[in-house]
């Protein structure tokens, strides 16, 4: 809740005026039945035409004032709600950009995207509704009850009984149906899931001849979904009739007691009519309130999820770091007895790893899945902080650098080849905002991407669609390599980045990187032995431990793990030579 006020603070005026004007409008609405009562009791009873005219004009005037108030309120609440959402989105976006890999791992990027979009929208809608209706509906209900008291104490008890009763019915029905509707949603998710499965996995389904069984399974889920829906519908279909019954019985009671009261002269006929009208207003307000509660509940759930993100504190920061002077002749990258554990994991991903990588060296990193290859390279740009030991780049511990200084020096090609919507040029400039076309083209050439970029009609202006779906996997991968090469990169990290390339391209790529990037330290992570075989040095990881560090020939002699990997992938004579 605090967070809501925080973002409404800049819209204090709007947030106060909106409900205020709504209440003003409601008060005018509450006057109308009295005016009608006046027409009946005075205008009609005494045949007072001018009074009737006056009252008619009064009603029109009330309507006009109501309209003005309502529009004003609407305007203020729209401004407040949109401003609220915008402010929250901006802050959350910045907050997410401050989170470190550890928190991103824990929350997951799809979750973050959902929080940013649908959850904030939901809260924004909730705020808008709250500002407009949250005071108005209770105000009408309360106002109508108070009015009934001013008219007749005897009739007022009917209101006092009816309002909680209607509220109770609404509450009970919602209480029963909300969980059922949640179940309905889960079952609908199953239906989506099965549809997706049978689309994506069509080949496997057919290869095993399972179409009929899949259909039967779907039929069951579908049937179950239908039944649940009908069950939920059965109860929620009660809402309207049940509340109407209560209200109409209240009106019956009002007419009967009203009749008695009129008989004794305690109230007038017009006042009976006014009481009936108030009852009608109460029902409408209560139903609106019920809908509001549903929306607010949804918004509250979203707000909870949003808070989760805001409450996540970045585990590492570069606050207070200033630009570091690098130490000359130091190794480009050095690990000193580094151990590292992922959040939520008991076993360390990297334990006691030490090595040096000199400028110009190509370092191959090999090992099975889960052996710690990716973890190791993620420590170089300080995506994670080590548990113990030290990572140095150019002789300076990584935690001393401002992020931008450290990371600008490092070009990373992630496992998954992700490109962004925009031109090829814009994508290439991710690493270096000011890269010239010549620099970009050089990087593309090194990355073996010129063969297809050169063939594009619009060259660097070629538009890439979101996610790069208009390119093949291999093309995307080569572009991500070129992206990492654009800019003043001293360290290039290829995280198993050639997996979508065929062998010939992979080999050509490695050759040209070797040729074009003198002085650059290259880390090549791979599962393919032949990709790293010719590296200056190879680091062999097994279960987070560094079990080998040397050239191919050395490791073949000394490192059983490496030998095993090579023999499984290369022929004897290749492994030997």
């Amino acid at each position: 809740m605090n967070r809501i006020w925080l973002y409404l603070k800049d819209y204090k005026k709007e947030a106060i005026l909106a409900p205020l004007f709504k209440m003003l409008e409601a008060s005018f609405e509450l006057i109308v039945p009295l005016v009608v009562a006046g027409i009946v009791d005075r205008g009609i009873a005494f045949h007072d035409a001018s009074y009737v005219y006056k009252m008619g004009l009064l009603m029109a005037a009330l309507a006009l004032i109501g309209l003005t108030c309502s529009l004003t309120a609407q305007y203020f609440s729209a401004r407040a709600a949109m401003g609220f959402g915008t402010g929250m989105r901006n802050d959350m976006f910045e907050h997410i950009n401050r989170l470190s890999y550890r928190e991103i791992d824990l929350l997951g990027t799809p979750t973050l995207v959902n929080r940013m979009t649908s959850d904030i929208n939901q809260v924004q809608t909730g705020v808008n509704l709250m500002l407009r209706l949250f005071l108005r509906s209770p105000f009408i209900v309360l106002g109508a009850v108070i009015m009934s008291f001013t008219i007749s104490l005897k009739a007022a008890w009917i209101f006092v009984a009816a309002v909680p009763l209607i509220s109770l019915v609404i509450y009970l029905i919602m209480h029963v149906t909300v969980p059922v509707y949640k179940a309905v949603q889960t079952k609908l998710d199953h239906i989506s899931r099965m549809t997706r499965e049978n689309h994506v996995g069509a080949r496997v389904v057919r290869a095993f001849g399972r179409q009929k069984r899949e259909f039967e399974e779907f039929t069951d889920i579908n049937e179950d979904y239908t039944e649940t829906q009908i069950r939920a519908g059965r109860i929620s279909a009660l809402l309207n009739p049940a509340t109407c019954v209560i209200m109409n019985f209240a009106i019956i009671l009002i007419l009967w007691t009203g009749g008695k009261q009129v008989d004794t002269g305690a109230i007038t006929t017009g006042q009976v009519v006014a009481l009936v009208n108030y009852m009608n207003q109460i029902l409408i307000a209560l139903v609106a309130l019920a809908n509001l509660i549903v929306a607010v509940t949804k918004a509250a759930a979203s707000l909870g999820r949003i808070n989760e993100v805001f409450d996540t504190v970045p585990s590492l920061s570069d606050d207070g770091n200033h630009t570091q002077k690098t130490i000359e002749n130091a190794p480009r990258v050095e690990f000193k007895d580094v151990s590292f554990t992922y959040a939520g994991s008991r076993d360390s991903a990297i334990s006691h790893v030490s090595f040096k990588a000199m400028p110009g060296e190509t370092i191959g990193i090999i090992g099975g899945t889960g052996s710690g290859k990716s973890s190791l390279i993620n420590l170089i740009p300080r995506f994670y902080d080590v548990d113990s030991g030290q990572v140095l780049v150019d002789g300076v511990p990584v935690e001393k650098y401002p992020f931008s200084q450290l990371r600008d020096e490092i070009g990373i090609v992630p496992q998954r080849a992700v490109l962004f919507a925009g031109t090829i040029r814009a994508n290439m400039r991710w690493g270096d905002e000011n890269a010239s076309d010549e620099e970009i083209l050089a990087a593309l050439r090194t990355a073996q991407a010129m063969d297809f970029v050169g063939k594009l009609k619009d060259g660097l202006d070629h538009k890439i669609s979101q996610g790069g779906t208009n390119l093949s996997g291999g093309q995307r991968q080569r572009l991500t390599i070129a992206r990492a090469l654009t800019g003043k990169t001293d360290i290039l990290i290829l995280d198993d980045s050639a997996s979508a390339l065929d062998f010939a391209t992979d080999a050509a790529l490695r050759r040209s990187i070797k040729k074009d990037t003198s002085g650059m330290t290259v880390f090549l992570v791979s599962q393919r032995a032949f990709s790293i075989k010719n590296a200056d040095r190879i680091l062999v990881l097994d279960d987070g431990e560094l079990v080998g560090n040397g050239t191919h020939e050395e490791l073949m002699q000394t490192c059983p793990v490496y030998k095993e990997i090579c023999l499984s992938q290369l022929s004897e004579q290749e492994a030997a030579g």
């Binding site: 976006f93 689309h199 065929d502």
Partner: protein, 581 residues
């Protein structure tokens, strides 16, 4: 609406089985409307018995109130029943259509899946069906009751006083006009808002979805700048859209209030003039209040109906996509393949004017191991598509066990092949169910045996629920390598006579891989195998290597033979497997 005629006709077919219920529904709707409209009249009559001090006709009032009570209960009952009928019919029709659509999904050729995104199909089978049924049936019911209410109200009002009725009838459409005016003017703002919102969303999807890359390239500040700009633009057009769309409600309410005031005024004079009673005036005011509601609803219903029909059209568009050509009536069951495969002069292309495979012929003896190698896009995976009959050849024929594959049922053909693809696909089900996917009646022992052979048993045992562990929809709870092991176990269990492997071992733990390869070795013993090979060890052990390039088999033979030829394979081998400094 005219262009929807065909769609409507087909929609009616789905409704036909529920004709009886629809009539009940319509009857109940009519009953509800009549009762609802009768209530204000009774209330008015009640008011008329209450004239003044000492002038209240209690016996008459009691009679009216009892009648009112009965009517109120009847309204509620009828309304509830009507809602139940609407629900039942709607949900059943949804069920029927969805079932048929899913059945169709099993019948469309694989080429349809390849050409359409899963999201597209899901939105048709899930979202469109729901929107269609909600829109159509609920919309239809609303339309029906709305029209009845309007007609009924007019009737009741006319029976009381013609002049005031005319006032209401003529003035009320004004609110419709106002609503329409606002809607047409806000449409553009909405359009602008949803475009901006889409822009904002896709930026978030890109940047937040790839937050790690953003940080790796120090793109945070630039990203924030871009986002704030879009977000501010969204705020500006959002305020407009929100405000103007929210105008409809107060504006129509304003018109209603004016009508209400008008009725009160003229009604009062009618009462003074003795043409009407106070009670009738109350009824009138009541009507004036609820008369506009159906108008506002109907204007919404029409767009909803249009939308529903558009959804139905999209759905039918999917249902009308041609199904896979059914198996020939005299298609034989391939009971037990001997393992021989003959490809005779086969040509094939995905798109008519882009030829891919040209005049391919292969003769494979039972038990032979065939490795297919070549650069990306040379047609390797296409061979798998043709062998499994996911696609049919354009020319030539393929024979398995001496029988043309076109003459046998697809299911029996496919059952004789075991397939492991590079893209692992598992069901969101337990590990046990996944391994037994091809043999649902497998015993526990058989399943464990297969898992052991695939070297999956040990990791499965370590999972929290062992063989009962649920695999998440995105397979997030197990690694890519483990997924592949499960796919292998799945094939291990069915023991097919022929194997198709799109060498899928690249991401399995290198050391596990050695064992898996051994297991595969065992499995391949005596079985005909086709392997799209990436690995030298596989290639060297093959009985025959098919070297493909641009849709042709340009060389074939054993590893050493091909090297001696010093052709394309030799150069491919040089460049790929023996990297020179």
């Amino acid at each position: 609406m005219r262009n929807h005629r065909n769609t409507i006709k087909r929609v009616l077919q789905y409704i036909r089985p529920y004709t009886g219920r629809i009539f009940c529904l319509l009857f109940l709707a009519a009953l509800t409307v009549v009762c609802t409209l009768y209530t204000p009249i009774l209330i008015g009559k009640g008011v008329d018995t209450i004239v003044g001090i000492g002038d209240v006709d209690f016996p008459a009032l009691a009679g009216i109130l009892i009648r009112l009570g009965v009517i109120v209960l009847m309204t509620a009952g009828a309304q509830w029943l009507m809602n139940l009928f609407v629900n039942k019919v709607t949900y059943h029709i949804v069920r029927d259509i969805r079932k048929e659509a899913f059945a169709h999904l099993q019948e469309v050729p694989v080429s349809y899946m390849d050409a359409h995104q899963p999201g597209d199909i899901i939105s048709r089978i899930v979202t469109d069906v729901t929107q269609f049924s909600d829109g159509l049936l609920m919309g239809f019911t609303q339309l029906f009751t709305g029209v009845l209410t309007i007609l009924g109200t007019i009737g009741f009002m006319l029976s009381i006083d013609i002049r005031i009725s005319l006032l209401v009838i003529l003035l009320t459409p004004l609110s419709l006009f106002v609503a329409g005016f606002i809607a047409s003017h806000t449409w553009q703002m909405f359009q602008a808002q949803s475009e901006k919102r889409a822009e904002m969303t896709s930026l978030v999807e890109e940047l937040v979805g790839n937050e790690k890359i953003v940080q790796a390239f120090s793109y945070e500040e630039r990203g924030i700048k871009r986002f704030k700009k879009v977000n501010e633009e969204l705020r500006v057009c959002g305020v407009k859209a929100l405000f103007f769309s929210a105008m409809t409600n107060p504006a129509t309410r304003f018109v209603n209030s004016l009508v209400y005031a008008g009725v009160a005024l003229t009604g009062a004079f009618a009462v003074i003039g003795g043409r009407m009673s106070v009670g009738q005036l109350t009824s009138f005011l009541n009507y004036a209040n609820q008369y506009t509601k159906p108008f506002n609803e109907i204007s919404g219903v029409v767009t909803e109906l249009e939308n529903a029909l558009a959804c139905a059209a999209r759905l039918f568009d999917f249902m009308d996509s041609p199904a896979e050509e059914p198996d020939a009536a005299d298609a034989v069951e391939l009971a037990d393949a001997d393992g021989s495969v003959k490809v005779e002069h086969v040509s094939f292309s995905y798109r008519p004017n882009v030829p891919l495979l040209q005049d391919i012929s292969i003769d494979v003896k039972p038990g032979q191991r065939i490795a297919i190698v070549g650069p990306t896009g040379c047609g390797k995976t296409t061979m798998i598509n043709l062998l499994m009959r996911f696609y049919d050849v354009n020319e030539g024929r393929i024979l398995v066990s001496g029988t043309p594959v076109r003459d046998m049922t697809r299911d029996s053909l496919r059952r004789n092949f075991g397939m492991v693809l590079q893209e692992t696909w598992l069901k969101a089900a337990t590990i046990r169910e996944n391994i037994a996917y091809g043999k649902p009646d497998a015993t526990e022992e058989e399943i464990i045996e297969a898992a052991k052979k695939a070297h999956a048993h040990s990791f499965i045992r370590r999972m929290p629920d062992g063989y009962d562990t649920m695999i998440a929809e995105d397979g997030g709870n197990i690694s890519q390598g483990q997924k592949q092991l499960l796919c292998i176990a799945r094939v291990m269990l069915t023991c097919p006579d022929m194997l198709i492997l799109d060498e899928a071992t690249s991401s399995i733990d290198t050391r596990t891989e050695i064992r898996v390869q051994k297991a595969f070795e065992e499995l391949m013993q005596g079985r005909t195998s086709f392997i799209v090979a990436h690995r030298l060890s596989t290639i060297q052990g093959a009985d025959r290597i098919l070297v493909m390039k641009d849709g042709n088999i340009i060389e074939q033979g054993r590893h050493q033979e091909l090297l001696d030829q010093k052709g394309f394979y030799a150069s491919l081998y040089e460049s790929q497997f023996a990297v020179q400094e």
